[in-house]
Symmetry: C2
Subunit: 369 residues, 2 copies
């Protein structure tokens, strides 16, 4: 079937989308004390955030003040900016936004906390903050062992209200990527619940213990003491999550529609999507996923998107795919390795409802922070 | 110096930009019979395309009909869409555009040529086309040995005017990436000039022999018989080109301004740009470039952007960089490995003229084809 859409474009199957949203909400809901606060980084769409909230999410997570501003302007009323704000202009914008919606911001250093304190004091506000903890990924987050001392200092600042701790770790064990997402999730939750207890013992009233990624959220949610999970990718799912065993390829709501533009030889088809269409941050062949190529080709199990230039995708065809006799002009649907960074390349996605297709601008993408 | 811009953002130094444009125009201009038709994929900005034309370029090259439409709407009057058009809707759009500007389209298969022929006949137009040749990159382009037969068939189609051949090969020798860009460019030009001669002998009036990338353009331009070069990256330059010896890091007009958001340990700084800010299509450590990390950190020679997550860049600090004592809130300028795909991630770039900064929307990015 040829779809009358210009290619390349990202198509989101709204039935699968609805199912993914409901499934995660139901599963998190089995743990009575755990809230779901999805990360909107995957879709960057207020309308999808609203679907998540309608299904039971307490609010959403974003990475940027600008994303929070767009989401709030479109009716999302409860947002956690899970990223340290360290410049006055962004802190001011966040405080202004907190006059309109429930807003929580992140902090992971005394320098950052003091800047928020000074700005909040000047504007006559109190800011709800969560302390980010590094549980092994080595990116932002105060080192685990240094967290109690920093939390104590932050708790003393009069214009900050330290109500929680959070971490992001993903599918990681012993500092290395892992396929054992159950163990990873359990350990992540355990580390954070333990830390929250230590902070409470020290007199700091930690309410929120927020953890979890798409692969680890449900395992971390089962840990007593965890109060919130923040999966993002689950909303669309992708080939990486399928490889991790978190979903099946049939659960992937997002795919890229491309057109075969050239058939230079029997074993090669060129499609009109390259590295400006498919994200390249999850590379083929890397541990522990060992993905072959940059996406899964729907219906052609031995075709592999092995090379990309900016606007060209080189599809190596095995015997079965060669037998399919692809023609110039044929369309293919490809599930990308990483849907979050793939959507981020596109100004629009196409929402598919059965046989109808609706273009939707990805409102919160391409934002300066 | 702290620049009062929200980060992350791409900054283009307009002095370096002007110098890069002039240098390429001058060098290509030394070959009297060779025209310059820059690929606009790097900047995707009509205003920069106009600067290239003002400096002597005959027109520009793009990859998509939509990009051509945006460029034409902003005054660019001579465009080559160097990409096979294989769907009726795009061919129609191209033909409509050719009523307003000088337009050349690409073809690399009989199927594509016949579709253009039928569409052009229906609309009562004649379309100027160039045949794409595969000179070793194995992406689009008819195989070199099959080109004469296909060219003969295309030349017989009454609504197509086959005026040229073109190829893209980049820094490639014997099918592999190479640092010997002089040999690569010479061979590329030679292959195409030879083929043009064979086609002319066969009675096909080939006027344009269009070749070249930023690394190979000037070497290919020196080959007798080459009539046009299409470099793209040179306009901004980047770390990859510097590593290839094509330019110095000082010639890079484009950089990404980021802010240090976290200093979790002495050997690590986290900046607010990840894989949604820096392109990941030119990976660290890959042959023949052996680049360390995803960008060159201005002023910190032993700091390396070794890991990216979506919104985090992990900067490993060597002894010298550690001595610089980076603070949370400090800004850094980073020259990305690949500027074309990095610019493509951003809705806007910031044009720097001395101490003044002007935001410019990247008008032709994010286009559906």
């Amino acid at each position: 079937m040829t779809i009358s859409l210009e290619t390349p474009c990202v198509i989101i199957d709204t039935d699968i989308l609805a199912r993914n949203i409901q499934t995660m909400a139901d599963r998190v809901g089995q743990h009575n004390t755990v809230k779901l606060r999805p990360h909107a980084k995957t879709h960057k769409l207020p309308s999808v955030a609203q679907l998540q909230i309608d299904a039971g999410a307490v609010g959403i997570t974003v990475a940027k003040v600008s994303e929070a501003e767009v989401m709030a302007a479109h009716g999302i009323g409860n947002i956690f900016i899970a990223y340290p704000l360290v410049t006055v202009s962004k802190i001011e914008r966040a405080i202004r936004l907190s006059e309109k919606i429930e807003l929580i911001v992140a902090v992971d250093s005394l320098a950052g906390a003091l800047l928020i304190e000074q700005t909040a004091a000047r504007l006559g506000h109190t800011v709800q903050v969560r302390l980010e903890i590094d549980t092994g990924l080595r990116r932002t987050g105060v080192l685990y062992e240094q967290a109690p001392a920093l939390a104590a200092e932050i708790a003393r600042l009069p214009h900050l209200r330290l109500t929680g701790i959070y971490t992001f770790r993903g599918a990681l064990l012993d500092g290395k990527p892992t396929l054992d997402v159950a163990a990873a999730g359990w350990e992540e939750g355990q580390l954070m619940a333990d830390l929250a207890d230590r902070l409470r013992t020290a007199g700091i009233a930690i309410e929120d213990v927020s953890v979890g990624s798409t692969p680890t959220a449900l395992y971390a949610a089962a840990v007593p003491g965890v109060t919130e999970v923040r999966p993002g990718t689950y909303v669309y799912q992708d080939r990486m999550q399928a490889q991790l065993g978190v979903c099946e390829l049939e659960d992937c709501a997002g795919s890229v529609l491309v057109t075969v533009v050239s058939r230079p030889s029997a074993d090669l088809a060129i499609v009109d999507g390259g590295s400006k269409t498919f994200a390249t941050d999850v590379q083929p062949g890397t541990n522990p996923l060992h993905l072959r190529g940059f996406g899964h080709i729907h219906g052609l199990d031995d075709a592999f998107l092995t090379r990309l230039s900016e606007e060209h995708g080189m599809l190596e065809l095995g015997p079965l795919a060669q037998a399919a006799n692809l023609q110039v002009g044929d369309q293919l649907r490809i599930i990308p390795n990483h849907i979050c960074s793939t959507v981020n390349l596109h100004n629009q996605v196409v929402m598919q409802r059965g046989d109808t297709f609706e273009r939707l601008p990805v409102l919160a993408r391409g934002m300066l922070e």
